[in-house]
Amino acid sequence: MKRRRWMACLLLAALAGPAVQAETRSLVLSTYGLNNDLFKKHVYDPFKARCGCEIVLETGNASDRLAKLEARRNNPNVDVVQITDFLALDASNKGLLQAIDYTKLKNLDQVYDFGRDPLRNQQAVAYTVYSVGLVVRTDKPSGAIASWKDLWRPDLKGHLMLANITGNQGLAQLFMVDRAWGGVATDMSTGFTKLGEVKAGTVTYYTQTAQMTALFAQDEAWVAPVGRFGWLNLKKTGKPLKWVVPKEGQVGMMNVMGIVKGSKNADLAHQLIDFWLSKDVQTALANDLADSPINRNTKPNPEAAEALTWGKAQIDSLVFMKPEMVARERAGWVTQWNRMIAK
């Protein structure tokens, strides 16, 4: 009997452990795992001081975080979610987001037009934008590349690196290739046909930015479609590389913020979003290369400006994929891509 009582005590102690009540309100932010030290310094810590609240992070890859939002739809524990635009639309279509009260966002009018209501349903605001353009070796035939169509030049055979469809750069590449070669259908059939033609001459389809950088560093690749956030590390390889804005334009990819439906902290959520969009925060994040700015008044230092998606030449070249098209078609594109590439 004694033994049993002893074990019951242990059990009680274990249960009582985590039951410490939080005194201040806390705002839960679901976000990517990247650069969180910089976000802490420039966003979370100053915001905490302002609102007198806590910020709790839930980090992970986008599909995990979406799945969690869906699993807890009746009792949400996340207040604000940061995610790519078309995945935000997925969440919105599933009824996981609530409308944002735009009148509470003082800084919204400083945001580029394309970033204010990217889902066109007033449930999200973009907080960063990055371009997907081409990076080329200037000392090889690739140095003359000026168009997405130049990737089909025969002298690039065996040195062309493409992005896999599973990443955003792969989606952007499919979209621009389709567009450059005159495709009009949302099934991207023109793009698929053209990318199939160069399969044999493609080094590989990269899935990670670090892998892509390594393959440039080892002279395996002379050209690849690249997200702008990878540009700084590419320059560090010391290879003669150049960023090319193709004449058909570059794809603009946006990450957006939304407020989770049923959030009990919608007031704080609006404050955080507004704070994130402010010129000061956007400038600090840009200078530390955490994210390219979405606030048009941001003026990063010259070094950062050269590494980010910033300035007239970059911003004017941007072409956007409709998030509703990507959200609807992406699974089909991935299947078709695998059939073509992994045979």
Binding site: N61, S63, D64, L66, A67, G158, N164, I165, T166, V203, T204, Y205, Y206, T207, Q211, A214, L215, Q218, D219, E220, A331, V334, T335, W337, N338, R339, I341, A342, K343
Partner: protein
């Protein structure tokens, strides 16, 4: 009362394994058979209706099977030599065998990318010795995945065989040869049957390791050489297709069990 004590002592470990391993795995596997609330095989038929999935499955079996066979062929002579060297040297050799296992798989895989690249050591040797006129495509092929997996998994086979051979009574080989067996006969009729446990353990470890490896096929094969694990990753992280992912999980588990059973049968 006293007879219950072992159960009390086992309870925490059993609870841990049950709650954190058996239950989640069972839930995961059950997901493959659950269709809108009732049980069925529709997810499996849907999975195999896609010709690509069958191709990926065969590719995985082919590469893993070949790696298992080749590692057994390479490791038997090496293991037999290792047990013959003096004990203090054997410790050093074992250390050297284990050393690659201590290197991060990502670093090890990247070094293969360097070696197999267009300007890498392999191509320099092949072109320099006149085998090829120009650098060959070695990276991002099935061959690259095979080589990477072989290097990754071979130590497991070697260590299993060494420990099996260490338990071999030292006199049996001499006895076999005294009775007129040649080297091959004494290996096939004496050494092999007496060390088959090591072969089964090593074979299962190598095969399972190859089938479930992710980093090596992802980095050395890429999307062109899709394997079950890389497909599983895509199903979960890109397509959010949990049904197909559960089917792959069941396939991985069943394949491993079947291969283990087959190895046991063959050795009997």
């Amino acid at each position: 009362m006293r007879s219950r004590i072992p159960w009390w002592l086992l309870a925490p470990a059993l609870a841990l394994v049950g709650l954190l391993f058996v239950l989640p795995v069972a839930a995961l596997l059950a997901g493959a058979f659950k269709i809108d609330g009732h049980l069925g095989l529709a997810h499996f038929t849907a999975f195999f209706d896609e010709p690509l999935h069958t191709q990926v499955y065969w590719r995985t079996l082919r590469i893993a099977g070949l790696a298992t066979v080749v590692s057994a062929l390479v490791c038997y002579p090496a293991a037999m030599a290792m047990v013959k060297v003096p004990a203090r040297w054997r410790g050093l050799l074992t250390g050297l065998v284990i050393l690659p296992l201590m290197v991060s798989p990502i670093a090890r895989t990247y070094s293969w990318i360097v070696l197999l690249g267009r300007n890498g050591l392999a191509n320099s040797l092949l072109v320099g010795s006149g085998v090829f006129d120009e650098p060959a495509t070695l990276l991002f092929t099935e061959g690259a995945v095979f080589v990477g997996l072989l290097q990754l998994m071979m130590p497991l086979m070697l260590l299993s065989l060494v420990s099996a051979l260490e338990n071999l009574p030292p006199d049996v080989l001499a006895a076999a040869q005294t009775l007129g067996a040649n080297r091959w006969q004494s290996f096939a009729r004496v050494v092999l049957p007496l060390t088959q446990e090591g072969l089964i353990v090593g074979g299962t470890l190598v095969f399972t390791g190859c089938v479930t490896a992710f980093i090596t096929p992802a980095l050395l094969g890429g999307p062109k050489v899709l394997m079950l694990e890389t497909l599983l990753y895509q199903k979960v992280n890109v397509a959010s297709d949990m049904a197909a992912a559960s089917v792959i999980a069941v396939l991985l588990l069943l394949t491993t069990i079947v291969v283990n059973q087959v190895l046991k049968r063959v050795s009997r």
